[in-house]
């Protein structure tokens, strides 16, 4: 039983316990004098740090095992056992989950530390960290769960935390609405997940509903059911990972505190969908059609979000759309069956996107909660550390050669091309140009040029060290994470892909070196083209806010998709509710009851007519009755 270990459960449990302790402490003291922030800070970081250490232990534990049997399991207790359904509260670590574990806990820890500075003097300091710990615990359940049902616990758990943290500043109605939107849209996706999971169970779940049994039984699934399961699960992924048509919640989710945007809405939770598709790669491999649909949805989402990203003016919205766009890339990767490329992009993206968000957080912090890039400018001198680290992040996001984002994005585009999805490759390339453009549009406007708001500029300053150190660490990650998976064309040997290989049902096609070269060269050109346009327009000192008209205005308003959903779904739904309540319920459903009551009354009234109240009339009734009775009796006796 070398595969059975006893520490896996601790990884999610420690942050969850932290959440409980912090929550109870906060509840107990929130009406009196609050506890010092230091106590909360230490408790809040303890869970993530310990989880991170355990994640390393998992990684080294796996390394010791032979490649073909690299997994660790722990069954804590039988969770739901009804008939054929047997789900244990069990945890499962293999190369895929160990990679996810490493960066989730590592980045999670950094963001906890950063938040100590960012959230300082917040009156609900304890509550914030309780939520953050709860989120991390849920995410770790999602990653470590041994089967779809346990994964779903984390899946919904991160959705809940997302809701709690987006509506964190709940005095403002808009923030709460954004939280509601996130929860409800996620729930729409979850419906797909639950249905997919149920279908999967009835298809092949009777032999065990954990990944290993499912993988062993996967060949038995019929293609039709397989397709249905894959697509339904992907509906879940579109909700959680903000893809068309359910991406609308993520940009609004920026209402939460910035560290939350970094942790949840960039580095961890939103990648759950990609992880899920990679996790079920043994199913997706059986139905290539499902994969193609995933890839196309992904790349179209990437295009749409990049288009919006080019025209936003809120720094967090720009980053939010870039997240949606990059998630689209990841789905394009896993969709064309390049699961390791997709997951690798998840990995590098976690570093540079967390970095960019935290950098944006520093800027917002310095500018006293100003988020409009057209009110910033020239911050380069005022905030050198933020500037330098943001530059690394921006280069990585834009896909500058030698930065992490370049290697991972290039791997996806190359896989698309190699597997014959030329359309996806081409759109991907277009998106790469746009990515470089919007990233540096934001970067130049914020840090270069002249200060556009002199007063705020004067007051701007570098944030405290507790915030800058995580930035520097993340910048190192964003710079070097890509070197873990260097393709052979650059003399590497795809270490991460090899590490992930046992977890994924992936076939590496052998293609000509020229395709690889074409992919690399076009990627570099895309980056160069994008950054060149951005430099031309915004790198100059006098860059002014453009006045958007026509299509640009349309894109600035996100093609009015939100409004469309509002009028097509929300308004009719509420109207339907009103209609049921005001019209259908009283007249249709309750109608028969009312008619029955009325008929009863009418009958009573009809009988009332004969009750006139005069004795002589009753005497006549009696006479008539007696006569009829006598006639009947005499008849029956044959008299």
């Amino acid at each position: 039983m070398e595969h059975t270990v006893s520490y896996l459960v601790l990884i999610p449990l420690l942050p969850l316990l932290g959440a409980l302790v912090l929550g109870v402490m906060h509840m107990a003291t929130c009406k009196g004098r609050p506890l010092p922030e230091k106590i909360y800070s230490i408790l809040a970081c303890a869970g993530p740090v310990l989880a991170c250490i355990l994640a390393l232990k998992v990684y080294f534990g796996l390394r010791l095992l032979p490649e073909e049997a690299r997994y660790l399991v722990q069954d804590v207790f039988t969770w739901i056992h009804v008939g054929d359904l047997n789900v244990s509260m069990g945890f499962f670590a293999d190369p895929l989950s160990s990679l996810m574990l490493l960066f989730v806990t590592f980045i999670g820890t950094l963001i906890h530390i950063y938040s100590i500075g960012y959230m300082a003097k917040d009156e609900n300091f304890g509550k914030f960290f309780a939520y953050l710990n709860l989120f991390l615990g849920s995410m770790l359940i999602l990653v470590l769960g041994n089967g779809p049902v346990v994964m779903f616990v984390g899946w919904e758990g991160v959705g809940l935390c997302s809701y709690l943290l987006i509506s964190y500043y709940s005095q403002d109605t808009n923030n709460v609405l954004a939280g509601n939107k996130a929860f409800i849209v996620n729930r729409i996706g979850d419906l797909g997940f639950v249905l997919g999971m149920s279908l999967l169970f009835w298809a092949i779940g009777a032999g065990g509903f954990d990944y290993m049994s499912l993988r062993a039984n996967a060949p038995q699934i019929t293609p039709a059911i397989g397709l249905a399961v894959c697509l339904l699960l992907f509906v879940g992924a579109t909700g959680k990972s903000a893809q068309i048509p359910l991406y609308v919640w993520l940009p609004d989710a920026m209402a939460g505190p910035t560290p939350v945007s970094a942790l949840i809405h960039a580095a961890t939770m939103v990648t759950a969908g990609v992880y899920m598709v990679a996790r079920f790669s043994f199913l997706y491999v059986e139905v290539p059609l499902a994969g193609s649909i995933v890839a196309w949805i992904g790349i179209l989402t990437a295009l749409l979000a990049a288009t919006f990203g080019c025209f936003q003016r809120d720094i967090k919205k720009i980053l939010a759309y870039s997240t949606v766009s990059q998630l689209g890339y990841m789905f394009a990767g896993v969709g064309v069956a390049a699961y390791s490329a997709g997951i690798f992009h998840v990995f590098t993206h976690a570093f540079f996107k967390a970095l960019l968000f935290l950098g944006a957080g520093s800027v917002i912090y310095a500018m006293h909660h100003e988020q409009d890039i057209w009110k910033m400018g020239g911050l380069k001198e005022k905030m050198p550390i933020t500037y330098a680290t943001m530059l690394v992040g921006a280069l990585a996001l834009a896909g500058c050669p030698l930065f992490s984002g370049f290697f991972s994005k290039d791997e996806i585009l190359f896989s698309a091309l190699a597997s014959g999805h030329v359309g996806i490759w081409f759109v991907g390339l277009l998106v790469a140009v746009m990515t470089a453009y919007y990233t540096f549009r934001m970067f130049f406007v914020v840090f270069h040029g002249k200060p556009r708001d002199q007063h705020a500029f004067e007051a701007a300053h570098e944030p405290p060290r507790v915030m800058t150190v995580p930035l520097i660490i993340l910048a190192v990650g964003a710079l070097f994470a890509g070197y873990l998976n260097i393709p052979s064309i650059f003399g590497g040997n795809l270490q991460v892909s090899h590490w992930l290989a046992p977890s994924l049902a992936e076939h590496h096609p052998h293609v000509s070196i020229w395709i690889e070269i074409i992919a690399v060269l076009t990627s570099i050109m895309a980056f160069a083209g994008g950054i060149y346009i951005a430099w031309k327009r915004f790198g100059v000192v006098e860059a002014e806010e453009p006045f958007y008209t026509g299509m640009a205005n349309f894109a600035y308003n996100k093609f009015f998709v939100d409004e469309l959903y509002h009028y097509l779904i929300v308004v009719p739904y509420k109207f339907f509710g009103q209609t049921i309540w005001k019209s259908i319920e009283p007249y249709v459903t309750d109608g028969p009851v009312k008619i029955a009551v009325w008929l009863y009354g009418a009958l009573a009234n009809a009988f009332k007519v004969v009750q006139v109240g005069y004795v002589r009339v009753y005497a006549i009734y009696m006479v008539i009755g007696l006569s009829v009775l006598s006639i009947m009796i005499s008849r029956s006796l044959n008299l």
Partner: protein, 506 residues
Amino acid sequence: MFENILSVMIFLPIVAGFGVLILPVKKEAARAIGLVSAILVVILGIKVFFNFTGTSGLEFAINIPWFESVGVSYNLGVDGISLLVLMAGSCLFPMAYLLLKTKSKGYYANLMIAQGAMIGAICAADMILFYIFWEIMLLPVFFMIGLYGGPNRLPATLKITLYTIAGSLFMLAAIVYVGVAYHAQTGVWSFDIAQLTALNLSGKAATAAFVFFMLAFAIKIPLFPFHTWLPDAYTEAPTAATFLLSAIMAKIGVYAVIRFVLPVFAEDFARYAIVLAYSGVIGMMYCGIAAIAQKDFKRMLAFSSASHMGIIALGVFCMNVQALTGTLYQIVAHATSTGALFLLIGIIEERMETRNIEDLGGIAYKAPIFAVFFAVAMLASVGLPGTSGFIGEFLIILGAVKFNMAIGVLAGTTLIIGVCYMLWMFQRVFFEKSNARTEGFRDLTAIETLTILPLVILILFMGIYPQPFLDKVTPAALKQVASVSAVQQQLADNTVPVVEQTQEKN
């Protein structure tokens, strides 16, 4: 004393209730008596739970002939089907006495009598005995709504009473038919449910009796479209009566379907299950969508409760062990979550003197403990994993997908419909800005906190570690399903495409 434990649980509250009514006791004394009797029932209930072996068949059974000439007996017992319902009926009551204050002792007396009658209906293993308790349990509700309810209590009382009595009369006719049919087939009289299960009923009369039974239970549950008494009754009733109706009485309707209709009318049940299943999901969606239009949050919760009952009832009609177990589990899960919500809302009503959602706001800042408890109950109600609500709902949806894909998809929408109205209500009541009214909202006192805390812990425990409960329920559910699935198979073989199977192989 184990032989009589169920009788004690039934008659202790009833006797105490009548005692309070007749003897000249004060209001506070009545409350204390109610609390003591409720706690004793809880202790006995827990005893039953832990001594229950789950080896199928009735346990703690007692069978005393009553009207021997027609085979009616005083026949009680607990099995896997009734165990969790019994737990809901016995363990939730102390809170009602602890949290709610009222004007009159009669209120508490009625509460006690209702509890005894409900436990009687749950434990009865004889149809006539069941019918008697079923009728008795309506009376306290009639008095509670009629005497202590809101301003529009009289029409609401009349509606619920007449509606349910009408259903009951149909049931009485059906019970008589079943008894006569048994006599015709075997030559002896019996209303013992274990005996009646052996009946092989078919033909028009049997179908009519099936419909009569279902009518009575559909009204009680309530199933769409027989739910129209519910919003008025739940809204106008005093909190304790709403709690009683939503948390326990509605569940007895579902329980009775599983106990009496499923085994006796297996053939008709299998044939019409699809119709009933649609009634369940449509009711769920209909009431859930109506909930969003409500301004009065008690009425909103009433619709929410009706919506959940639709999904709970659906689990019975899917005729597989996952769905049925899910229903039995959800009966308790929903009792705890909805019970907690109605009690908490009762507290808001008492303190703020309004039930209008628009008048509230910002309660979370004034009363964090209250808000957290409410949130946990709310999340259980929307079926979040980690709370009790998930286990049952998941099992029901899983079973529904097997039963019929369309039903499964519709049932799944409960995930979405629930959060829509709940979050919107939560936003307007707990978040946003507080106003002059909610500024003075007092958080839960120590006693109130300690009263509700066990419920919150139970909600979480049942979500994290449900297996001890499931273990006790599953064997009985398997047995109950086996009887009907044989018939279902037979029907399917006879080329009657009543039950569409999804195409996957198992």
